[in-house]
């Protein structure tokens, strides 16, 4: 017989207390602070902002006096869209972030889908090793993998690719390979490819072979089978992988900083600059709020697909036992 209900309930309270308290203190509360600071006024102080609360004389509770300057700045850029000569640094950073994240996702999908498909269709004994080889670069230092591309793409005659091109006589002068959006895109695809491959593999490896055989028996050509059976059945893997690449890619800061030089401004870098050198924390917080708002839709999409996928894989594991 199980212990009485109240014993369980008390036990549950204490078990739940630690994770609840931790996540509230170190995740939920800091988020509330972002919203608060985004409504504050920047000031030369420590911390460098004046809170949006004012204590009126005689009042019991402090009054909220939000300073909307940071949001107004973003709003004004939106209104100035199309005007020539307007200062659109935040909007253009947002634009290039979304574009680069979308292109990264697309390229990862185009490279990763056939890759994951072929791993899932390879011999069962080889799959584990093949997957581990995908994971291995992912477990080594992210910064050093970006550094590797700095060495390869270096724009002087010392860059590895430039040396090869010069030695082969294909070019007369070293190409400008580093410090442009192409280099950033390459670095992002390289870094995020495992995030796309793993959920796709998890999905494709469960694909029922009999469905493909049935399609072939009924006269479907391989291309038709792929488009009408494999692709629709792997939709969940595609969505999960794409969101796992897109979401971090939007906020990426390190890769554009190291491979993009000064020219490629992305929104994660704007936060970094406002937080660091510019000391405009309210602006950084306002931009962070816009990032969260923009990413809500992809996060919900990922959550829905990831969760259902997890449940069905759990069911499969149970059935397999």
């Amino acid at each position: 017989m199980k212990p009485p209900r109240f014993v369980l309930a008390r036990g549950r309270f204490w078990v739940g207390l630690l994770p609840w308290a931790w996540m509230l203190l170190f995740f939920a509360l800091p988020f509330a602070l972002i919203v608060k600071v985004s409504l504050s006024t920047p000031e030369l102080a420590i911390p460098p902002y004046v809170p949006p609360f004012v204590m009126e004389p005689g009042a019991v509770l402090p009054q909220l006096r939000p300073d909307l300057a940071s949001y107004r700045r973003l709003h004004d850029e939106l209104l100035a869209l199309g005007t020539s000569g307007a200062d659109l640094q935040y909007l253009s950073a947002w634009g290039s972030s979304l574009l680069l994240a979308a292109l990264t996702t697309l390229l990862c999908l185009l490279i990763g889908y056939p890759f994951a498909y072929h791993i899932a269709r390879s011999r069962e004994a080889a799959r584990n090793t093949l997957l581990m080889l995908v994971m291995l670069p992912f477990w080594t230092s992210f910064l050093l993998r970006v550094y590797a591309w700095m060495v390869l793409l270096d724009s002087s005659e010392l860059g590895l690719i430039n040396r090869l091109l010069l030695a082969a006589g294909l070019v007369d002068a070293p190409l400008q390979l580093l410090y442009n959006s192409g280099a950033v895109l390459l670095g992002m695809v390289y870094s995020y490819l495992p995030f796309m491959v793993l959920p796709l593999y998890a999905n494709l490896v469960k694909l029922d072979q009999r469905l493909l055989e049935a399609a072939a028996d009924l006269g479907a050509r391989p291309g038709t089978t792929f488009l009408r059976v494999t692709l629709p059945l792997s939709r969940r893997g595609i969505v999960a992988g794409s969101m796992l690449v897109f979401i971090p890619a939007v906020g990426e800061f390190v890769i554009p900083d190291l491979l993009g030089g000064g020219d490629v401004l992305m929104i994660g870098r704007k936060i970094w600059d406002d937080f660091g050198p510019n000391q405009d924390w309210p602006m950084a917080a306002a931009v962070a709020v816009t990032i969260v708002l923009v990413l809500i839709a992809p996060i919900v999409l990922l959550h829905r697909h990831g969760r259902t996928d997890g449940r069905s894989s759990g069911r499969n594991a149970e059935a397999g036992q």
């Binding site: 017989m1 199980k2 212990p3 014993v7 036990g11 549950r12 078990v15 739940g16 630690l18 994770p19 931790w22 996540m23 509230l24 203190l25 170190f26 995740f27 509360l29 800091p30 602070l33 972002i34 420590i46 911390p47 490279i111 072929h118 791993i119 269709r121 291995l136 670069p137 080594t140 230092s141 910064l143 050093l144 993998r145 550094y147 590797a148 700095m150 060495v151 390869l152 590895l160 040396r163 390289y190 490819l193 391989p222 089978t225 971090p248 906020g251 800061f253 390190v254 994660g268 936060i271 937080f275 924390w281 917080a285 962070a288 990032i291 969260v292 990413l295 996060i299 959550h303 759990g314």
Partner: protein, 293 residues
Amino acid sequence: MSARSRPGATAWLLAVYVFLYVPILCLIVFSFTAGEITTQFDGFSLRWYGELARDEELIDAVLLSLRVGALAASAAVVVGTAAAFVLARFGRYPGSAAFAGLTTAPMVMPEVVIGLSLVLLFTHPLFAFLGGRGVAAIWAAHTTLCTAYVTVLVQSRLREMDRSLEEAALDLGCPPFKVFFVITVPVIAPALVAGWLLAFTLSMDDFVLAAMLSDPGSTTLPVLVFARLHHGLKPEINALATVIVAVVSLAVVVANRALLSAQRKRAAALRHAAGISPMDAPAVTLPNTHIRR
């Protein structure tokens, strides 16, 4: 069909693996150069490994990263396991959906946003008791991020595991906490180990959170490497990369072997237990229920 597409499949797999590994192999090859240039092989030498071993700033950063990583991973396993238990066993209660969102959200938030939010917490006058920015702040940030990953790993293991073992122990009058440590923990141990290792590497590798939350006395390895990358490329960084790749490869292979053998042992033990329990269970449970009433 698969036999016909074999050559194309092999070529595609090969091409992507080349894309993944050529940059890393280049780093390794040029770590053994004798010269100053990262892309020119001026004869074999271990010069840069010597420089690495004498670089005290770098060694301090490595030691700090190892310490923060181990502490954050351990804390994340504790908090994450508790969170996974709440998610997998407590069913629905007021706030359960919010809790599910709260525990996994750090995984899908851009790090810059998490970093900024935590800086605001640690610099807030009301939370001065947390000690401001520094090593403890980096530890707390890494624990929060890693907890999300550990929670997902452990939760899926808890949902997969055979509940009847826990129920049997509870029926026999074992207190819930003892059931957890004697029955549940050994069964989910592979997930705990995998979670710890994942958390450790995440913490060792994190630059954004560590950079935003560091003060002058707390330079972790990624923060130092990032600063040096802005001061030009030196083969010493290649040597560091080679050491990291070697250590990680070894650790991954060993961990993979250990996890596989643990899984096999567990499966064998469960088969063994399942073989005898159907007969024994009623005989044991009934008298005990009687006594407790």
